[in-house]
């Protein structure tokens, strides 16, 4: 009994400590300015107000950045998942010359920290006049070697006979891919899609470099630059942080089943 009390007790305390920074910032977002500025803000708004949320959306155009983030994240997710699905399947289940070498190239790409590449990437996109375009964020993020490795590992577990049967029925490789392979790896693709979406939404360094024009910035980038100017306005910044994290928390809670599977698959693919 004592053990159980200890377990539930310590887990609850840890959970509250973990959630506290997220809950408090959400709470501050709904406080009136005197509550925020007179010493330590209270835990709970005494007179809840939408003032800060309205302010950050109207005055700082957060809705606009929200839309930028959404466009980039959706396009990145669709492109990256499709491209990785095709490649992962081919590398695992289609025999062709050069397959081994390509698998090694993909593995090598996994080992390169993407944030170390921002200088030449900037120069490349500047050359082709794509700085300040959505493409500058979508294309590099769609080069996702980790997803390919994961799908490859997942597809290796599927017996080749099933695929051969489909091919014997006269289905071409594209038909086989769309009607047999895609349904088979749907859970994995869904998991990777959620993962890619979240990573794209939260990406910071490269979007900050590639989007020099304010109107093209994504949410985290805009939030960081609003923060440089208005960091004393606690309520306003708390509202900005809340608007940025709430969609991801909602997506996570709604899709935990898939999302957590991809996280686990990611570690077991080793």
């Amino acid at each position: 009994m004592a053990v159980r009390t200890f377990l539930y007790g310590s887990l609850s305390i840890l959970a509250i400590l973990t959630l506290f920074p997220l809950l408090w910032v959400t709470s501050i977002a709904f406080m009136r300015s005197p509550e925020q500025s007179a010493g330590t803000p209270p835990l709970w708004p005494r007179h809840p107000t939408l003032h800060n949320i309205v302010n950050i959306i109207q005055r700082e155009m957060l809705g606009h950045y929200f839309l930028n983030s959404l466009i980039v994240a959706v396009a990145t997710t669709v492109l990256s998942t499709f491209v990785a699905g095709l490649a992962g399947y081919a590398l695992a289940q289609v025999r062709f010359r050069g397959r081994r070498i390509i698998s090694w190239i993909v593995l090598f790409a996994v080992l390169i920290p993407s944030q170390a590449l921002v200088l030449p990437l900037f120069e490349m996109f500047r050359e082709v006049h794509l700085i300040n375009h959505y493409a500058a964020l979508i294309l590099p993020a769609a080069a996702n070697p980790v997803s390919i490795v994961l799908i490859q590992a997942y597809m290796r577990g599927i017996p080749a006979e099933i695929l051969d049967a489909a091919r014997m029925d006269g289905a071409g490789e594209w038909q086989t891919f769309f009607y047999v392979v895609v349904p088979m790896m749907a859970p994995m693709l869904a998991a990777l899609a959620v993962l890619t979406f979240v990573v794209s939404w939260n990406d910071f360094m490269w979007p900050m470099i590639a989007m020099q024009k304010a109107s093209m910035q994504t949410l985290p980038v805009a939030l960081a630059s609003i923060d440089r100017e208005h960091y004393q306005e606690i309520g306003l910044m708390a509202a900005g942080a809340t608007v940025t994290i709430l969609p991801m928390m909602a997506i996570f809670v709604a899709s935990q089943r898939y999302y957590l599977r991809s996280v686990v698959a990611g570690s077991l693919a080793d």
Partner: protein, 291 residues
């Protein structure tokens, strides 16, 4: 099955990886051996190959050593702390009734999915010297208020805390999944033989989870090694450069001073040290197996 579709299916991915990973990587390597700076940007006639001069320059640059030390400190303090917290939470979650597990898993994992910029802004309110909640609590129990983000040592500690807080939920999920794979019979046998909880932990759970812990250590090292947004928002690298991470220094040299040669050399050093970590992890893993 031999056909043209294999190469065709791989082509888009290969093209993207070549264009946005391999070529930029060669670019960094090349740039790191040139004098590329603001004058070259004005006229490419000024561009010269200077061999290892940027690396020599960095070797004598106090700021580079400081950044290396800061980043290493965050990794060496943050990774063990993260792994310990991940493991403790995973094992506790797996010991409670299944219907409560989802709730705690969600709670511990939520920081992982949140934007670093946004959570850094939240943490600034907890850490603020004047109105921050942490100092409020310290004062309430008669301890002195601390200048968390204003003192070099405390700022590094604060950033490590934020990094661990944001990261440990990831390992928790993976370790919980790995723990579920351990057959309960092993524990039954141990109990029959009179092993206590601590003995079961040390002789069953930890050895079986060791490879997973090793892999997590690698993932955490690779992630924390690329520390950027936390110091960017919380301290801008200050006070006195104490929280300047390698990437933040690269960004500063590259996009504030346009010294791309030096910044690229920093990027190469960052990459190579990360490879060292990977090699080290592989190496220890094999020796465990052999031993």
């Amino acid at each position: 099955m031999k056909s043209i579709s294999g190469p065709l299916f791989v082509l888009p991915a290969l093209a993207l990886i070549a264009l946005f990973v391999l070529i930029p990587f060669l670019g960094v390597l090349g740039l790191s051996m040139t004098n590329f700076d603001i004058y070259v940007l004005a006229s490419s006639a000024n561009l010269h190959f200077i061999g290892g001069a940027n690396y020599v320059h960095l070797f004598h640059d106090q700021a580079a050593w400081q950044a290396l030390e800061t980043t290493l400190t965050v990794v060496l303090a943050g990774v063990p702390a993260t792994l310990a917290l991940s493991l403790i939470c995973a094992l506790m979650i797996e010991s409670i009734a299944p219907r409560w597990r989802g709730l705690f898993r969600t709670a511990f994992f939520l920081p992982v999915v949140c934007s670093t910029v946004a959570v850094a802004i939240s943490w600034r309110y907890l850490l603020n010297t004047h109105y921050g909640l942490i100092n409020h609590l310290l004062v309430a129990v008669d301890l002195p208020a601390l200048n968390w983000l204003g003192s070099p040592t405390l700022a590094v500690i604060a950033i490590t805390v934020v990094v661990v807080w944001k990261g440990f939920g990831y390992g928790m999920i993976i370790l919980a999944a790995a723990r579920r794979e351990i057959p309960e019979e092993l524990y039954d046998i141990a109990r029959i033989e009179g092993a206590g909880v601590r003995q079961q932990l040390l002789s069953i759970t930890v050895p079986i989870l060791a490879p997973t812990l090793g892999l997590l250590a690698l993932l955490d090292v690779a992630g924390y090694w690329q520390l950027f947004a936390e110091p960017y928002v919380l301290t801008q690298g200050g006070p006195m450069g104490s929280t300047m991470s390698l990437l933040l220094l690269m960004y500063d040299r590259g996009f504030r001073w346009w010294r791309w040669g030096v910044a690229s050399a920093l990027a190469m050093i960052l990459t190579v040290i990360m490879w060292l970590f990977v090699w080290l992890q592989r190496h220890t893993k094999t020796s465990w197996r052999e031993g």
